[in-house]
C-alpha cells in the first residue's frame, strides 16, 4: 500500500517537474508546479512529516503559487527566442543535468550509510505533528525561528521597494556595453 502511494506521488512530482520545464507558456508552467507541490506534499505525509505537508499545501501550493499566477498573468507570455546564444545549449544543458543526477545517485547509493536502505526506526506517535514541531521551534530552534521571521520582513520590505511605482521612472534602454547612460 505504501509502495503504491509512493509511486503515485513520485509520478505526480516527476510529471509536474518535467511539465514545468517543458511547457512553453509560463502560465501552464506555474500550474504544473502546483501539481508537483501537491504530489510532493503527499510524499511528505508518507515520511510522517504531517505539519510540513500541511504547510506545503497551504503556504506553497496556496499562497506562493497565487503570487506566481498573478505575476504570470500580469507579465503575459514571454516569447522565448528560438536561437541559442550558446551553441549547443539545448543538448549541453540536459547532458549536464544528467551528469548531476548520475553523480548524486552514485553518492547516495554508494554511501556507507546502512540506515538509508531501511525504512528508518519506528517512531513515536506524535512524530511530525504540529505540537511536536511547535515545541521544537519555540524551544530549541527559537533563534532560527526569529531569524526566519526577520528574513521574511526584510523580503517583504524589499519587494515593496522594488515594485513601487516611482514618480519619474528614468527610461532604461538596453544598451551596448561601453555606452554610458
Amino acid at each position: 500500500m505504501e509502495e503504491v502511494a509512493f509511486f503515485a506521488g513520485a509520478i505526480g512530482a516527476l510529471g509536474g517537474a518535467i511539465a514545468v520545464i517543458a511547457l512553453r507558456n509560463p502560465f501552464y508552467s506555474v500550474l504544473a508546479l502546483v501539481v508537483h507541490l501537491v504530489a510532493l506534499a503527499g510524499l511528505f505525509l508518507l515520511l510522517h512529516a504531517e505539519f510540513v505537508a500541511a504547510a506545503q499545501v497551504v503556504v506553497y501550493a496556496g499562497a506562493v503559487m497565487v503570487l506566481y499566477v498573478f505575476v504570470a498573468a500580469y507579465v503575459g507570455g514571454v516569447e522565448e527566442p528560438i536561437w541559442e546564444p550558446i551553441a549547443g545549449q539545448r543538448f549541453l544543458a540536459p547532458a549536464l543535468a544528467g551528469a548531476l543526477f548520475i553523480e548524486l545517485s552514485i553518492a547516495i547509493l554508494g554511501t556507507g550509510l546502512k540506515a538509508i536502505s531501511s525504512e528508518g526506526p519506528t517512531i513515536a506517535a506524535g512524530f511530525g505533528s504540529p505540537a511536536a514541531i511547535g515545541e521544537l521551534m519555540l524551544e530549541r530552534f527559537l533563534i532560527a525561528f526569529e531569524a526566519a521571521s526577520i528574513l521574511l520582513l526584510i523580503a517583504a520590505v524589499g519587494a515593496v521597494v522594488l515594485a513601487a511605482r516611482r514618480k519619474q521612472e528614468p527610461p532604461i534602454v538596453v544598451e551596448e556595453a561601453g555606452s554610458g547612460r
Binding site: P26, S29, L33, V71, A93, F101, A144, G158, R165, A177
Partner: protein, 99 residues
C-alpha cells in the same frame, strides 16, 4: 519504502530543476525551476529526518520554505519592475547589472 527511494527521487527532481535553469530563458520559469530544486532539497531533508527518527529536519524544511518564499517575493518584485520599465524578460539580454 526504504529511504533510498526518496533520496534518488530527490536527486532526480534536483537534476530536472537544474536542467530547467540551464535551458529556459524566461526569468519567471527560472524562478519556478529554483523552486523545484529547493523542494528536492526539502524532500531529502525530510527523508533523512525519517531515516534517523529525529524531527530536526522538519525545522530545516520549514526554514527552506521561508527562504523560498523570500526568494519568490524578491524575484517576482524584480520581474514586475523589469516589466514596468519595458526591459526584455529574457535572461540572455539582461546580462548587465548596470542601470
Amino acid at each position: 519504502m526504504a529511504v533510498e527511494w526518496y533520496l534518488v527521487l530527490s536527486a532526480l527532481l534536483f537534476a530536472i530543476g537544474a536542467a530547467g535553469v540551464l535551458l529556459r530563458r524566461s526569468p519567471l520559469v527560472i524562478l519556478l525551476c529554483l523552486e523545484l530544486m529547493l523542494n528536492a532539497g526539502t524532500l531529502a531533508l525530510l527523508a533523512f529526518s525519517r531515516s534517523i527518527g529525529n524531527q530536526d529536519g522538519h525545522i530545516f524544511a520549514l526554514v527552506v520554505m521561508v527562504v523560498a518564499a523570500c526568494e519568490v517575493v524578491v524575484g517576482l518584485g524584480l520581474i514586475v519592475a523589469m516589466f514596468r520599465r519595458r526591459l526584455p524578460l529574457n535572461v540572455d539580454e539582461m546580462r548587465g547589472l548596470r542601470g
